[in-house]
């Protein structure tokens, strides 16, 4: 029986780019369309509505800037992710807090614009298959996470996160730790899954409301 993944590999991966800077939209489009195999950018806009209507509504992956004509907000991440859209947060903000909250809200990747072409293409390919991608900056945020709600990581998982954060090369991480690249990927994926598992739990109504305020879905004034 044909799997969804196999079907995806047969057709071209599609993406919609939401960013308020035309140069960024053009750059991302160039990177994706010239990748091997290429990724088709079906739409790009400064307006997040393009991810909901028109060609962008059916794109496999949404590449979303957090700061669209205002302060960075996670509201759209939450809205898109909860409807099953595969979201890559693509931002200039190297913020541990934003990275962790994006992950909890259902984003498959938090990528800073300083991290370059390869990470973006890899993140889009992973997201198109419904998998997360952990770029080095996000690995740093996960390794530095001190919140009481953080999941327990094994010593090896922690080593992989730190080494990946430091080196930006999975081959170097693998050589340093004496493991294979696929094992490095497995550890990174396992860490991401642990975070995804704790992501949307809210044991009480109060916790749910607190999280909604934190995610900027509602204001305190609305309570």
């Amino acid at each position: 029986m044909e799997t969804a993944t196999e079907r995806l590999t047969e057709r071209r991966t599609t993406a919609v780019v939401i960013d308020d800077h035309p140069a960024v939209r053009a750059g991302v489009q160039l990177w994706l369309t010239t990748a091997t195999p290429p990724v088709q950018v079906v739409d790009s806009s400064a307006d997040v509505r393009e991810a909901w209507v028109g060609p962008g509504a059916h794109a496999d992956v949404v590449i979303l800037d957090l700061q669209l004509d205002g302060p960075p907000t996670l509201r759209e991440v939450r809205r898109l992710a909860r409807t099953g859209r595969r979201v890559i947060v693509y931002t200039m903000h190297a913020s541990d807090d934003l990275a962790l909250r994006s992950l909890e809200l259902g984003a498959l990747c938090y990528l800073t614009k300083a991290e370059g072409e390869k990470h973006l293409v890899d993140a889009v390919r992973a997201a198109a298959q419904g998998r997360g991608y952990t770029p080095p900056t996000m690995a740093g945020a996960l390794a530095a996470d001190r919140r009481s709600t953080r999941p327990a990581l094994s010593a090896r998982e922690y080593e992989v996160l730190v080494s990946w954060f430091q080196s930006d090369s999975k081959e170097r991480v693998a050589r340093r730790l004496g493991i294979s690249v696929s094992t490095v990927n497995s550890h990174l994926e396992r860490v991401r899954m642990k975070y995804a598992d704790i992501g949307r739990e809210a044991s009480t109504k109060a916790a749910l409301v607190a999280r909604a305020i934190q995610d900027e879905l509602i204001d305190v004034d609305q309570l």
């Binding site: 390794a143 530095a144 430091q166």
Partner: protein, 372 residues
């Protein structure tokens, strides 16, 4: 450091004043009033009231001595109960005095009561003390008007006695008050002076350490400058370039150490990266984890390996700072043309370094101790 010797506090001055007032109250009670009580005891009606008044006032005076002699402030509850007891004893004692002996030797309770009141109310405001003394006088005057036979001459004599006693006790209260005010001002001036001296000592120490640090840092650059000046160093040699790059980074870091920023280590690391970028190296700096206080010696030990590696790096470099609850890691992964590098080690810093396939990987790790 003699200048920093603690000065007597306002409370210590108040303690000294209380001791003086305790001695005065005890002297008036046991040397003067006791004699008057013994002399007039058969004439009091009833006598036990006069004796009880004497005992109550003595109990308050001696009771306050428990705290006064240990230079401790009187408990508020004792002050309230003692003040009420003094008023009751003074009024009761006055009622037992023969009608024609008010404000005379037999009426010792009136003169005595003011002294324990002064003792109890030493730290109260001057109006409060004046009201207490005035109330004692007023009560006795009312009793006098109600009980004693009223004649103009007797009233004039009573007025003279009351104004004399009250005036003297008020004068003492005013003296105590201004003594306390002066003591408070002196204590405040002493604190300000001690603060100024402390600030001066800290500034001197800081300047001394800065001078020493600058000398250390600049001292490292001097042999390099001398070598370039006398041409023992080849200005075109790669090694000279690396030494100059390292010297420039150290000076840049030294300047960054003087900046007032919330994240000193991140700031100094960025300064090192800035120098490398100006030298043509493509460097990416990543920082994760909240800023935390790291001693300057540790910061220097953490950044030194990065500076050394950056000076020898080619093409690109990734510099990272990762802070967790217990550790601070500074690392650099960079291209290098060398097979072996000598990376400086420092006490208290765990260092790992490796060179493989033209890539250098150095990590400096500092584990925060519980008392850091």
């Amino acid at each position: 450091m003699a200048a920093l010797t603690p000065k007597p506090s306002v409370e210590q001055y108040a303690g000294g004043l209380r001791i003086i007032l305790l001695v005065v109250a005890a002297f008036v009670q046991f040397a003067l009033s006791s004699r008057a009580l013994a002399t007039w005891l058969p004439h009091y009606r009833p006598a036990w009231v006069a004796v009880t008044a004497f005992v109550v006032i003595a109990a308050v005076t001696l009771g306050s001595g428990w705290w006064v002699l240990r230079l401790r402030p009187l408990p508020p509850a004792f002050t309230v109960v003692g003040t009420v007891a003094i008023f009751v004893a003074s009024s009761g004692g006055s009622l037992a005095v023969p009608r024609d002996r008010f404000f005379e030797d037999a009426h010792w309770t009136f003169g005595l009561a003011g002294w324990p009141l002064l003792l109890l109310l030493t730290t109260c405001t001057l109006p409060t003390v004046a009201v207490a003394l005035g109330a004692n006088a007023a009560i006795n005057l009312v009793l006098y008007v109600l009980i004693a036979p009223f004649t103009a001459a007797a009233f004039a004599a009573a007025g003279t006695a009351v104004s004399s006693v009250l005036g003297f006790q008020l004068a003492v209260a005013i003296a105590v008050h201004f003594s306390r005010v002066r003591a408070a001002m002196a204590a405040e001036l002493a604190v300000q002076r001690a603060g100024l001296i402390t600030d001066k000592l800290i500034a001197e120490d800081l300047e001394r350490r800065n001078r020493s640090r600058r000398a250390d840092q600049l001292g490292g650059a001097l042999p390099l400058l001398v070598g370039l000046a006398d041409q023992t160093l080849d200005v075109e040699a790669e090694q000279s370039r690396q030494l100059c790059a390292l010297g420039a980074a150290r000076l840049r870091r030294l300047l960054a150490e003087g900046d007032s920023v919330s994240d000193s280590l991140g700031h100094e690391l960025a300064a090192c990266v800035d120098v490398a970028q100006r030298n043509g190296l493509v460097v990416e700096l990543r920082i994760s984890g909240p800023a935390q206080a790291v001693p300057v010696e540790v910061r220097r030990a953490l950044t030194e390996p990065v500076m050394t590696a950056l000076a020898m790096a080619v093409n690109t470099a990734h510099v990272t700072l990762l802070r967790t609850a217990g550790t601070t890691r500074v690392a650099i992964v960079a291209g290098t043309s060398r097979e072996h590098l000598t990376i400086p080690h420092s006490t208290g810093i765990e260092m790992t370094s490796s060179t493989e396939d033209g890539t250098l990987w150095v990590e400096a790790l500092w584990r925060r101790q519980p008392n850091d």
